[in-house]
């Protein structure tokens, strides 16, 4: 069975937008010792213990749960909780994934970006995609919006100037019951090419 390596931050350095951390690798001898995982969320490294206490990551916790309940990042929404609606979309290593269908314990070493990570942390300036959603009123109730923006962000990352069809395909896993879809397509097209 695997001997897990746990990673402990020893110092934080500020470098560009990301918080970089120097790590010290410790190899555990016994499988019984507290297991840890480390994930980078919006540029910040989180070291978390695995276990069943309330501050720990239960192996049954989804990434959506960890983001919302453990890390307080409630921008990521859960609607269907079954992979069908895209509300809980986050970026994992740049790709759109469903945080409700992902086990946190399997995200060790991953880089996660949530809706909270899009605007500039210092100036508060919105990502051009967020700004385009504001400018086009690309929402009604706004519940689907964070997931929508994250899917669109992933799409523009892969394809900076998509066609209208490609935008629709890229957002094909996102549910909007208010039918803000038409304005969303306009917003994403407007933001394309201008994305960071």
């Amino acid at each position: 069975m695997e001997k897990r390596k746990s990673v402990r931050p020893v110092a934080f350095l500020k470098k560009g937008e990301d918080t970089v951390v120097r790590t010290q690798k410790l190899t555990r001898k016994k499988a019984r010792a507290t297991e840890r995982i480390s994930l980078t969320v919006n540029g910040k490294i989180h070291e978390m213990e695995v276990g069943t206490a309330s501050h720990q990551i239960d192996p049954a916790h989804t990434l959506a749960h960890t983001l919302r309940e453990t890390l307080g990042l409630t921008g990521t929404k859960v609607s269907c909780d079954h992979g069908a609606c895209g509300s809980c979309t986050v970026l994992m290593d740049g790709k759109a994934v469903l945080s409700c269908m992902t086990l946190t314990i399997e995200c060790d070493g991953k880089r996660i970006t949530t809706i909270e990570g899009l605007s500039d942390p210092e100036t508060g300036e919105l990502d051009p995609l967020q700004q385009a959603f504001v400018d086009h009123t690309a929402f009604q109730c706004g519940f689907c919006t964070p997931g929508m923006i994250m899917s669109a962000k992933a799409l523009l990352g892969e394809n900076p100037s998509p066609t209208e069809e490609e935008v629709k395909e890229g957002l094909s896993g996102n549910f909007c019951r208010c039918i803000s879809n038409y304005h969303v397509v306009k917003a994403v097209l407007a933001a394309s090419g201008k994305g960071r």
């Binding site: 069975m1 049954a60 979309t89 094909s172």
Partner: protein, 323 residues
């Protein structure tokens, strides 16, 4: 979700060993897009004690070609299969089938092994525990099949017994038409199973403690036309109501090779062998295509609410042949 313990398997052998050790109390997790639904819905009689992560096994996510064979590691993601130039140039039907699965986010996580091994979608079977408790039925080992007298609009129209759920996997249909083999590893060693033999009415062909390791697909003639057609209620996200995969080679209008597989009509993908035979050596036209379609569905015996699937299947077969 209810709690479970979790182990990152480092090798396939370790995963097999863990399965053996836990004697049915452990489950494998690949992309998790199907497994997590089962764990959340708690509709199966047994809740696992342990989840074994397969993604921690390195080197199982390849898509490569050698010796005239396309080899796909069980952990290859559907999005990687869609994007692979190798697949989209030589095995287009598979790329199309993989692209038709769910949504971009799911394809970024879902693996081909998981896609083949995913559980059936019967809505009686998957009825969630939290709204009055799970449903018991033939597949769960207790009582009759509820779909037979209930709402069976998405259920099987052929080759079923006891349980009328259909194989939900889209890639299985493409792999069936490509004559692919599923390579599995288990405590007794490795074996290969033809995709069409991989699915059975009550379960897939995996013996206890076996794991899908890779899929091998023989090369397809460059002149063959490969088609995947999937009929759904809505375009993205939905599982197939019926799907058809075909690989058809024509020389000067005459069919020299025809392979046709039907999806979502039976417990597994079904090769329409008689229809294939019928086409070989014939000039393909509307009439011929319609006859082959009739032949492909000749064995269908619908339930109370799914006779429409026969008509759709015929249409898809015809359209695939004429493409």
């Amino acid at each position: 979700m209810r709690s479970f313990t979790h182990i990152n398997a480092r090798t396939l052998d370790e995963a097999i060993e863990l399965l053996r050790k836990y004697r049915g109390r452990a489950v494998l997790n690949a992309g998790g897009t199907d497994l997590l639904s089962a764990l959340k819905g708690e509709y199966l009689s047994r809740y696992p004690e342990t989840v074994i992560n397969l993604k921690s096994i390195s080197g199982l996510d390849y898509v490569s070609e050698d010796g005239g064979l396309l080899r796909i590691g069980a952990l290859a993601k559907l999005s990687d299969i869609v994007r692979s130039p190798l697949v989209s140039s030589g095995y287009r039907v598979l790329a199309e089938a993989a692209r038709s699965v769910a949504s971009p986010q799911i394809r970024n996580a879902a693996t081909i092994g998981g896609n083949l091994c995913q559980d059936i979608r019967c809505w009686y079977y998957r009825y969630p525990r939290h709204i009055g408790g799970p449903v018991q039925c033939a597949r769960k080992g207790s009582g009759p099949c509820l779909a037979v007298r209930g709402d069976n609009r998405y259920h099987a129209i052929m080759n079923s017994r006891k349980c009328f759920a259909v194989c939900p996997s889209d890639t299985a249909v493409a792999l069936a038409v490509l004559d692919a083999q599923v390579h599995v590893s288990g405590p007794e060693g490795d074996r290969a199973i033809a995709v069409t033999d991989f699915f059975g009415p009550l379960a897939n062909a995996l013996r206890s403690n076996e794991i899908v390791r890779k899929i091998e697909v023989p090369k397809v003639s460059v002149s063959a036309v490969q088609t995947f057609l999937k009929f759904t209620v809505r375009e993205p996200i939905d599982f197939a109501v019926v799907s058809v995969a075909s690989v058809i080679t024509r020389e000067e209008g005459v069919c020299t090779d025809a392979r046709i597989a039907l999806g979502a009509v039976a417990p597994g993908p079904v090769r329409a062998s008689k229809a294939e035979e019928m086409l070989k050596g014939e000039r393909i036209d509307e009439e011929m295509a319609a006859q082959a379609a009739e032949q492909a569905l000749a064995g269908a015996r619908p339930l109370s609410k799914n006779a429409y699937k026969i008509e759709i299947a015929k249409t898809l077969v015809k359209r695939a042949i004429l493409r």
